[in-house]
Amino acid sequence: MIAVEELTSQKHIPGNFFAPNVYVQGDTELGLIENREGARLIALPETLLSALYSGLEHEVGPAADLVLQQCGYYWGRNFYRRFASEVSEYYGKSLAEMEMVEFLQLLKACWKTYGWGLIELDFSYHQQGFLVVQTQHSAFAKVRGAGEHPSCFVESGLLSAFFSQLTGRELGCVQTTCESLQATHNSFILGLPERIKAAEAWIKEAQDHDTILSQLCSQPAATVS
């Protein structure tokens, strides 16, 4: 027999921690946008992103992509720490103790509430050692404008750091489709760096996502450490 009174009287029934109307708070008088835990958030106007891209390209030329990826990487490490800490505290369990569906919902909700667009994770290639991530409505892609190759380097670095921390293994990340190249979404493939590295050349050859993924999966298993 279920004692409903115990259920209704519990301290709180966890809902969506990242519900936008609850998660993002602010005090315009103090110039603050904060999350519900009081950690400061910063809204990036498009003009600032655009200026960052232009400034970097002007200062370091072709190395700008690498710099942006590194920025994303450091951002991702801190993002993971905040995500793990806030979520664990609210739900009363660590990320490792969560069911996969809970974790996925939280990451999707967080991504959306942070204004990064939509994110979907595809574990179909898990057995081959790869994780496919798709994002949509990326401000980073929109501001970057049309180019020859995928250009969400910040997100690529962020995803690499986030999933490296989550899995406890260093993971590389390559982007295979990009909204800045008129694709419907941005696709990223994550895997061990030595396995992912081969994809960088294929991306420069403008091979499509499916071909790249297929070639990665057909790599000899011996290369997996």
């Binding site: 027999m1 279920i2 409903v4 009174e5 259920l7 209704t8 029934i13 809902g15 969506n16 519900a19 936008p20 109307n21 609850v22 069911e99 569906v101 809970e102 996925l104 919902q105 939280l106 999707k108 909700a109």
Partner: protein
């Protein structure tokens, strides 16, 4: 608090509310009073509603474990709280912001019949504690829950309240 109030509040930019606008404002106040009454009724009957549902589930052969039933029931308690708050505030997003979480974490075929059963029992219980015109106020805020749980459309996040 709700869009109509906000729209009327913006009128202060250039004029005092005129008779038709005052009427609209008064209607909003009356509607808010009705919603408050429904909200209080649901709040005060929460325990009765869900104990009735739990007792009914207990009487019937279950394909889910007791812990699963408790987990799903807990989510329905939360769903009704968010639905009632969304109705009170007349802000559908109070519910939609939660639906992805509340439905997906207990989704899956193994829960489907349990969800359907709880949903039916919940509607029955609400009919027993609310008048028909009160049901009409909360119903639009329960339909999206059913749609999110039972729709064949896998992209549940796109479910939008009308």
């Amino acid at each position: 608090m709700q869009s109509t109030f906000e729209d009327l509040a913006r009128a202060a930019e250039d004029h005092y509310l005129q008779p038709t606008e005052m009427n609209s404002f008064k209607q909003q106040v009356d509607a808010l009073q009705d919603r408050l009454t429904v909200y209080e009724a649901i709040r005060d009957h929460e325990l009765v509603i869900f104990q009735t549902i739990a007792d009914q589930l207990h009487k019937e052969p279950a394909s889910n474990s007791p812990s699963d039933i408790e987990k799903v029931l807990t989510h329905w308690i939360a769903v009704l709280r968010y639905s009632a708050m969304a109705m009170l505030m007349d802000q559908p997003e109070v519910l939609t912001d939660q639906l992805g979480w509340l439905t997906d974490v207990v989704s899956g075929d193994e829960y489907l019949s349990l969800h359907q059963h709880i949903s039916e029992l919940l509607h029955q219980c609400l009919h027993s504690v609310l008048a028909e015109d009160q049901i009409m106020l909360i119903e639009p805020f329960l339909q999206p829950v059913d749609a999110a749980l039972f729709s064949e459309d896998s992209n549940r996040e796109l479910v939008v309240l009308g």
